[in-house]
Amino acid sequence: MYEGRYSMNRPDKESESKPQLKLEFKIGEKDFSVAGDAASKVKKTLQQLGLKPEAVRNIAIIVYEAVMNVIIHANYGQLKVIIVPDKVVVLTEDTGMGIPDIELAMKEGYSTAPLEIREMGFGAGMGLPNIKQCSHKLNIKSQVGVGTVLEAIVYLSSKN
């Protein structure tokens, strides 16, 4: 069972106005429960920080889908959620087979998930499109046979 590590850095007065909160989770091989646990922990933390429900929900969805992708399509990796006053950054890095064609992977309905994964309720090919829908900025870098880095940013304006 992985627990999110929790660190609050407030080194000096300057940064007092810019508190940074970082949640980190290891994603172990075939560790299906880490996605839900991470999403739940991130959601509760963001709620405590007083973020708007819409932003909380979007970030929880990004975390869940991104971590699930690492578990299903890669070998192992890590999740970082960085919260600064004006934005939340969700970052997953994995070691795995990589994505040969990112544009294709982004298409609704495209999935390479095997049957046993589909039987669990995954493999709709909606995860990456969901992440895109829920974030303001999405960057994916991938190298076949090495791994994938996904960075999604949600800006926190007065409206969210």
Partner: protein, 119 residues
Amino acid sequence: MKLKDIIKVLDAEVLCGEHLLEREVETGFGCDLMSEMLAFANSHTLLITSLTNEHVIHTAEIMDAVGVVFVGGKRPAKEIIRKAELNNIPLLSTPFLMFKCCGLLFVNGLKGCMRDATQ
């Protein structure tokens, strides 16, 4: 409709969340794919599914579902019911299969989700 009314309509058994049955339900979403639930379902929706794994509970939590109905008399394992209980997600089990379950809820006034694929 309230959850307690839905129990009558679906002849459902309450697996957990007895104290939450006064919750108001406006929309329903019937699906066996997690990503579709997360993409298309509104917040505060009743999830209707035939899957009984822990991922359903996580998905329900992420989208603030008012509750989950398991069709075809299915019921998740004890530790999964416990997880839902801890997260204040009422779980119901109905003997009816997906189509009949959704049909009964629809004729009794439950709406589909607003956030559909065309939006």
